[in-house]
Symmetry: C2
Subunit: 354 residues, 2 copies
């Protein structure tokens, strides 16, 4: 492959001049400039990212560390980041941690020697990112934390308004006449789980509803967890009339458990999920959910990281994205209260199919 030396020969100038033309680092007389550019055209020359990175102590690489691309929430995040990165001439390196913080550390270490410009991280469970990031920043890399935050995180971040989203969902159910509301939360050591629970509780409190401890179930963010906890909820007396699942996978498991119990959603029990994944449209009933945009999350993180590359100083920025309650077919007024129930707001359109 062509290199700068060859371009210099072809253009009949020195190596330094080629560099100046290519990087705009000094004014070069037009004729010389043109000769260089022509030589570049002819040879199809591209600068070696390796040599450039070595010299500059920084590559056009953006690294992204996530729990698991197989979890349907994450592809959108990755895609958002990749699009922004690509547009700005960066490549995205993808790492999966399986929520294992030792694997997170391994990735962090391995990536370091590639001198990435930025690092976008969805922290694993019990992440020690706050410590690691410090050493990273010394290499000049921007570290942006998204979706959930590790303990004591004080750097740049992009999250969503978890509490508000859960609050709206719970309030909506209460508005329908529900008084016996249950919540199935994700692991409560995660900040997003904590915040969603807070929002849920606030809605109850505001409506003067006393929360029954058994109605609050904590589990993992997956279908199996939702299934198991819903089984428990359905056996309670009195049985809750509505469930807020703190993500869609949990809601999916809940739906299955409801069906298996011979109950019907939403007639016997209302259900709202969280995230608003595509698959909420293909279940029956279609699942109501607190939608958030994974794409926007990833894109904002990449913007933030690359801004930080250009402008290293400045206070940490915290971007908080909005959620949107999407009501579909999985909610209804509670059976006993149907007649008295407040009229439900107009059904919002979800994705349109064709």
């Amino acid at each position: 492959m062509a290199n700068m030396k060859k371009i210099a020969e072809l253009a009949g100038v020195s190596l330094g001049t080629v560099s100046h033309v290519l990087n705009g680092t000094a004014k070069v007389r037009e004729p010389l400039r043109k000769r260089v550019l022509d030589a570049v055209q002819v040879t199809g020359y591209q600068p070696s990212q390796l040599a450039r990175g070595l010299r500059r102590d920084k590559t056009n690489i953006l690294a992204m560390i996530i729990p698991d691309i197989l979890n349907p929430f994450f592809p959108g995040v990755v895609r958002g980041a990749e699009d922004v990165a690509f547009t700005k001439g960066y490549r995205l390196v993808l790492c999966n941690t399986d929520n294992d913080h030792s694997k997170e550390i391994m990735h962090l270490n391995a990536l370091r020697t590639y001198l990435p410009s930025g690092l976008i991280v969805i922290p694993s469970d019990f992440s020690e990112l706050t410590v690691q990031a410090e050493s990273y920043r010394r290499t000049g890399a921007a570290v942006v934390c998204i979706d959930r935050l590790p303990r004591n995180w004080d750097g740049d971040s992009v999250t969503i308004n978890n509490a508000e989203g859960a609050y709206e969902a719970a309030s909506y159910l209460i508005g329908l006449g529900h008084r016996r509301l249950a919540a199935i939360t994700g692991p409560l050591h995660l900040t997003n789980s904590q915040d969603r629970l807070k929002g849920f509780k606030r809605a109850l409190k505001q409506a003067g509803i006393e929360s029954i401890p058994g109605y609050l179930q904590e589990t993992t963010f997956d279908r199996a967890g939702g299934y198991a906890k819903t089984k428990i909820l359905l056996k309670m007396v009195p049985r809750p009339t509505a469930i807020l699942a703190c993500n869609d996978m949990i809601a999916l498991g809940a739906l299955l458990a409801i069906r298996e119990a011979g109950l019907h959603c939403p007639d016997d029990i209302s259900l709202i999920g969280f995230d608003g994944l595509d698959l909420t449209e293909v279940t029956s009933p279609q699942l109501s959910s607190v939608y958030q945009s994974p794409y926007q999350l990833g894109a904002a993180a990449a913007e933030l990281a690359l801004d930080r590359v250009a402008q290293e100083e400045g206070p940490a920025r915290h971007i908080v994205l909005k959620t949107e309650l999407r009501i579909r077919d999985s909610v209804a007024p509670p059976a006993k209260a149907k007649r008295a129930a407040v009229k439900a707001p107009t059904r919002k359109a979800g994705y349109v199919l064709a």
Copy 2:
């Protein structure tokens, strides 16, 4: 960050010796060796991948080019490749083409200067990869093509047995008593679409069923396509009693169209998808599908690529993975023939939930 020079000083040896110890490229006396290793320990030294890559003309980077990580088939492929890459000390760079072959070329060009060891590509529509790959191989990179092949591809590849999978699905439907079988295929310029159609036709031919042209519909690999084409199929007289959708997204659209037409799956019409995505479990009825393992596809590709790095010569290898027909609730004997129908094989278990 520490570099080899510092290690050499700390260990009281020369730079070359450090390199020899680290790469096992020459025998070094135990005491020296130990001093080097200790210094590495103490400093937490890691070799610069950039400098190493520059010197070796090759980095520990594996690049992966796919249409779109948002398509639920691809995350599994990416994860399979990343796991293998990670295990062997490689990082995965992810690129989305949106099936746009000019974007594919842009990625290919941009990646080149990072000197990746390997390249795993799911070709875009009308890909010119066969040409591009040639120039890539000259840089010493292994190029592996997966899922579908571009025109004239003669390099390493990993695909699945598309024809066989479609054949089995169609044969199964025929075995249930269906005679009016329709197929909704993906774009027929793609090799995987072509092969699935071939398998479908072979099953019909073998059963002595004449295929009605209108029963063969070509569309894009998405829900909207499946929806539109199914609408057409449902208006035909006589109406098909079974549909083979050439991927699960198409099947999803078909399911919706069937429901909207006031028909019931499987009582009025049987449906089998292709890919066996997780979401086939959450529809109702649960979708039968020709399962393939995206994870295995990605993992095999990474193995193949990295094998090729170690062993550059040798004939092209073509790995063909098996599919597995997973029958769930979306198939039944045709209404009129129910009594006479052959007994359906035992229902295979899909994923187990808990």
